[in-house]
């Protein structure tokens, strides 16, 4: 089932959680709402679920307006950040809940409920846990019970609020790959909220980057990473070196380096910011390969397979950071205090008005 969010706004007192947000989600897609805390991503998810009513705008499920519908009529499965398991009930009863509260004529027989619950428990790999109380499970297991409970009612949309937020790093990694595979098997339209860019990029078909109640960019993980639409997206999706320069009629200049910036053809000698990811900064002992930023090495720190090189640009005194392989480092023979030339392979250039 497809979801369409049209110009939704929501305020909480003086705080503007969502500001005219529009978004389309295809049936069967797995979409991540990514943003820092307070960006409105959870409010958007709760509005899709019907747990919150928007002040303005509408939510359409498969083209049908569902804005005023109660959560129970929407056919959504919602997995809460802290799972919200019914603590007085066993794992079995938690998963069976949605079936038991069906209207009598729709309610499956007791045997069918048991069968369905056991199917789901084996789907989330919790066979044999049916009789346990939620308190007796680990965080990852509770997460999967919450998922099974949400799936029991065969939702047309699965919504997950920070599904891995409360788990420790190791379990989180395992579970998110598993969730991706589960989604591929079930092919149910899914939306999940996260503040972890790695999680969003790894799991989702498309990523919606949000900031201060607005959508900054919507795209595939590759699109948002390789062609970020705004400075915010660049900064949120990972570390980047920030270079200050000017852009004039489609050509940006940062010290010794000039690059094409075709998206800024209209700019007339405007201040600009250039972003370069540390792994996109190529280091050399001389500037034979072309124009480069002259810098002095301040620190060389090996981090597992890669080496982080901290530098200071000679012209501006700005800090630069590059990530090179151990192999490259050995070839360069870098040491602290040495002169080095840094040449960016990829750039993102934003004229000042874009810079927030």
């Amino acid at each position: 089932m497809s979801i369409e969010v049209r110009a939704v706004s929501k305020r909480f007192g003086r705080y503007r959680a969502l500001d005219g947000v529009s978004l389309g989600i295809e049936g069967g897609e797995l979409v991540a709402l990514l943003g820092p805390s307070g960006s409105g991503k959870t409010s958007l998810l709760r509005i899709i679920a019907g747990l919150e009513v928007p002040d303005a705008g509408s939510v359409l499920f498969s083209g049908r307006d569902a804005t005023g519908e109660a959560p129970r009529d929407r056919g959504v499965g919602f997995v809460f950040q802290h799972y919200a398991l019914f603590r007085h009930a066993t794992v079995f009863e938690n998963v069976a809940f949605g079936l038991r509260v069906l209207r009598r004529r729709d309610r499956p027989t007791e045997a069918r409920i048991a069968e369905r619950v056991h199917e789901l428990l084996s789907l989330v790999q919790l066979d044999g846990m049916a009789g346990r109380a939620p308190a007796e499970l680990s965080g990852g297991q509770r997460q999967r019970v919450a998922l099974a409970r949400a799936l029991a009612v065969e939702p047309r949309v699965l919504l997950l609020d920070e599904p891995f937020g409360a788990l420790d790093a190791k379990v989180r990694k395992g579970l998110r790959r598993w969730l991706r595979r589960l989604h591929d098997d079930l092919a149910v339209t899914s939306v999940f909220v996260t503040h972890d860019q790695e999680e969003a990029l790894e799991v989702a078909d498309r990523v919606v980057v949000m900031n201060e109640g607005r959508i900054e960019q919507i795209g595939t993980p590759d699109e948002v990473y390789r062609s970020p639409a705004t400075a915010f997206v660049v900064e949120f999706l990972g570390q980047a070196n920030v270079l200050h320069g000017r852009v004039d009629r489609g050509r940006a200049r940062f010290g010794a380096i000039a690059v094409d910036a075709p998206e800024h053809l209209g700019a007339l000698d405007a201040p600009a910011i250039g972003y370069v990811r540390p792994h996109d900064l190529e280091l050399a002992r001389d500037c034979a390969a072309g124009p480069a930023l002259a810098a002095t090495v301040r620190e060389v720190r090996p981090l597992g397979p890669i080496v982080r090189v901290q530098m200071q640009e000679d012209a501006t005194g700005a800090a630069l950071e590059a990530e090179v392989s151990r192999h490259e480092l050995e070839a360069l023979g870098l040491a602290e205090g040495q002169r080095v030339f840094a040449r960016p392979r990829r750039w993102q250039v934003f004229a000042r008005p874009d810079v927030r």
């Binding site: 959560p71 129970r72 802290h82 019914f86 603590r87 809940f97 308190a135 579970l175 790959r177 598993w178």
Partner: protein
């Protein structure tokens, strides 16, 4: 599906058990760092012994000097039995009324905002603070045939003061805070997400209450009920005025003890007191069990 999930954590229960296994010895060594244990425990035991245990043992001693026949002759006399029936029956009914309305009051105080809410919240404890004799004469006035409520009911032919119903009214007043004050914190701690989860799963408001909220607050309601019941069983001051004190009809067990005492029938008073005290202790055990149940549920909540 996958083996990726084979990365498992230890269940939390185990993780929590571990430090506990190491804990006590270390904790004890550490705690004894503070001084004053012998002195404070000594004062506690001494005062407890003289103030509580010695007087109560006088009751046991008196009862033990009575022969079985004499004891049961009084403790199980027709008049005594009638007083137990009234005391237990009215206490049970009052506690039941308080369980139902106390739950509603607690819900309203936790969930809704309305004018006067803070005042109502503060007023809940009135029965703890108001001397029982004051409550007794006020209720008697209200429900007597010439009182504000009694006059209205008298027109409908309903009598409350000087009937068993009057006893129940007084006991309801006395037990009112217990259910409210035990349920309130549980409702406050109730995770709103749990209700939202139920709503997403298709439950109606009533189903959410019946299947999610009620099972969660049930231990607290039961504890509050038992506390109110136990309090009502021994209550004297608020009841003597409104009950009319007619033997066999509106005479509660504590009143019968007083009557026996006034007749210098110490043995008779003791026999009934022993019955009352044993019932109270049984209730105390029940309440402890209920509180343990509630605490278990709360711990489960804290972890899930």
């Amino acid at each position: 599906m996958s083996q990726a999930v084979s990365i498992e954590e230890a269940p939390l229960a185990d993780a929590e058990r571990m430090p506990a296994a190491v804990g006590p010895g270390r904790a004890r060594a550490r705690r004894r760092l503070l001084p004053g244990f012998r002195m404070t425990l000594g004062i506690t035991l001494l005062y407890l012994g003289f103030m509580v245990l010695l007087p109560l043992s006088a009751l046991a001693l008196k009862a033990s000097t009575m022969s079985g026949n004499v004891f049961w002759g009084t403790a199980a006399s027709a008049r005594a039995l009638a007083s137990y029936r009234l005391s237990f029956g009215a206490s049970f009914a009052a506690a039941a009324v308080n369980a139902v309305f106390g739950l509603i009051v607690a819900w309203v105080l936790v969930r809704y905002r309305f004018p006067g809410k803070r005042l109502f919240d503060a007023l809940i404890d009135l029965p703890f603070a108001l001397p029982t004799a004051v409550a007794g004469i006020a209720l008697t006035f209200l429900y007597s045939p010439r009182g504000w409520i009694g006059a209205i009911l008298a027109k409908a032919g309903i009598e409350i003061a000087f009937t068993p119903v009057g006893v129940m009214v007084a006991l309801t007043f006395i037990g009112l805070p217990f259910v409210v004050r035990t349920v309130q914190p549980v409702l406050e701690d109730l995770d709103r997400e749990v209700e939202e989860a139920a709503a997403c799963l298709g439950a109606t408001g009533l189903q959410t209450f019946r299947r999610v909220i009620f099972p969660t607050v049930l231990p607290a309601v039961a504890t509050g009920f038992a506390l109110a019941f136990a309090r009502a069983l021994g209550e004297y001051g608020s009841v003597v005025f409104i009950s009319g004190n007619m033997p066999m009809r509106t005479e509660i067990a504590p009143l019968l003890i007083v009557t026996r005492l006034e007749q210098y029938d110490y043995a008779g008073a003791t026999a009934i007191a022993v019955v009352l005290l044993v019932s109270s202790f049984a209730l105390l055990l029940l309440i402890n069990g209920l509180q343990a149940w509630g605490a278990r549920a709360e711990r489960a909540e804290a972890r899930s």
